[in-house]
Amino acid sequence: MEPARIFPCVLSVFMSLILDRFAVLAAFSQAADSDFTFTLPPGRKECFYQTMKEDASLEIEYQVLDGAGLDVDFFISSPSGHLLFNDYRKSDGVHTVEALEMGDYMFCFDNTFSTISEKLIFFELILDNMDMAEDPDDWKEYIHGTDMLDMKLEDIMDTINNVKSRLGKSVQIQTVLRAFEARDRNLQESNFDRVNLWSVVNLFVMVIVSAVQVYLVRSLFEDKRKNRT
């Protein structure tokens, strides 16, 4: 490769490194939704923070999937410290936060009321109006070739966009259903373990109690016999 070609190439890369860094950082904002599942140990509180722009809205949905009473405390507070929502020992909940102020919103799951049971918590964040416009346009620059039939293309594109957003919704519903199913399954598995344990305990208790009863009754009569003679 000739040096004459390399230099402008390198220079343009260097320039774009400087200038585009900030543009690209801003462009790659939050994906439409993200979900996390984590274990919350007993007596602990876990907090997560989400940066919000003004007039954006955040929907948060959480569920307790496993762990004793299947309940947890939950609260959301704004960047200035105001308590927006407060749930006390609920097993699932949905909240929508309208971002009136810009900043980091904090939401916490609190398991301090429990001393022995660890909770498995699933939560999902759905963000709206968070500068999504730049993201879809990014890849438009890199496509090759053109499409014929400009007028009809618009209609097809609209339909495709429609289908895409509906499929996105399907994915969200699927995630929620998966969380519900996981919770029911965990509940059933703990039922299974409990039935096994208490059946065996019951068996031992019955056998021991019957033996003890017989022994006690016999011992009562032994003593009386000794007293007589």
């Binding site: 496509i143 996105g168 996981a182 059933q188």
Partner: protein, 220 residues
């Protein structure tokens, strides 16, 4: 190597490392934070994280923490470790699941010097993308030379494929759930019958034993 689009390369590089999510949490020095991802098989998962350390002098979080890394450990549903690696202060890890189930992603900092944390916390920005969200469409468009329409249709196909995979996995999970329920139900039934039987036998044995005992002692 022809760099037609320098912006393309840069944005690929930046998107590669910087998490596109703005969700963050605080982690202590020896603390380990674990996240569970329940995914079908042959699904790719990309995790990106960015760390910031609290600086006492400026009383704010520094944008980067040189020398501080995070250790990422990923376990598959059979609790076998499929990834266990150190990454820098900003990192990206990726894995593909080969068995469906609950995969566990654990992060903890590799810092051994207490001074580095200065009793504070580390802020970790984390983003985990699963399945079709991991596809890099600008790259695919360039590689396969797709028109806009073709790219859109490709996106739809990937989305539908992911939904289908998830549904198959859901069927498998529901079957396991049903087996557990039916097994529990059966055990409750058989145990109740067995318990009644044992109680009756024990009662008969006790009565007979005590009766023969009393007869032997000439009380009856």
């Amino acid at each position: 190597i022809v760099i037609y689009h320098p912006q393309f390369t840069v944005s690929l590089l930046v998107a590669w490392i910087y998490p596109s999510g703005a969700l963050y949490f605080h982690i202590g020095e020896t603390e380990k934070k674990c996240f569970i991802e329940e995914i079908p098989d042959e699904t790719m998962v990309i995790g990106k994280y960015r760390t910031q350390l609290w600086d006492k002098q400026t009383t704010s979080f520094l944008p980067s923490t040189p020398g501080l890394g995070m250790h990422v450990e990923i376990k598959d549903p059979d609790t076998k470790i499929i990834l266990s690696r150190q990454y820098g202060s900003d990192g990206r890890f990726t894995f593909t699941s080969h068995t469906p189930g609950e995969h566990q992603i654990c992060l903890h900092s590799n810092s051994t010097k207490m001074a580095l944390f200065a009793g504070g916390k580390l802020r970790v920005h984390l983003d985990i993308q699963v399945g079709e969200h991991t596809n890099n469409y600008p790259e695919i468009a360039a590689k396969d030379k797709l028109t806009e329409l073709q790219l859109r249709v490709r996106q739809l196909l990937d989305q539908v494929e992911q939904i289908q995979k998830e549904q198959n996995y859901q069927r498998f999970r529901e079957e396991r759930f049903r087996m557990t329920s039916e097994s529990t139900n059966q055990r409750v039934l058989w145990w109740s019958i067995a318990q009644t039987f044992i109680l009756i036998i024990t009662g008969i044995w006790q009565m007979r034993h005590l009766k023969s005992f009393f007869e032997a002692k000439k009380l009856v």
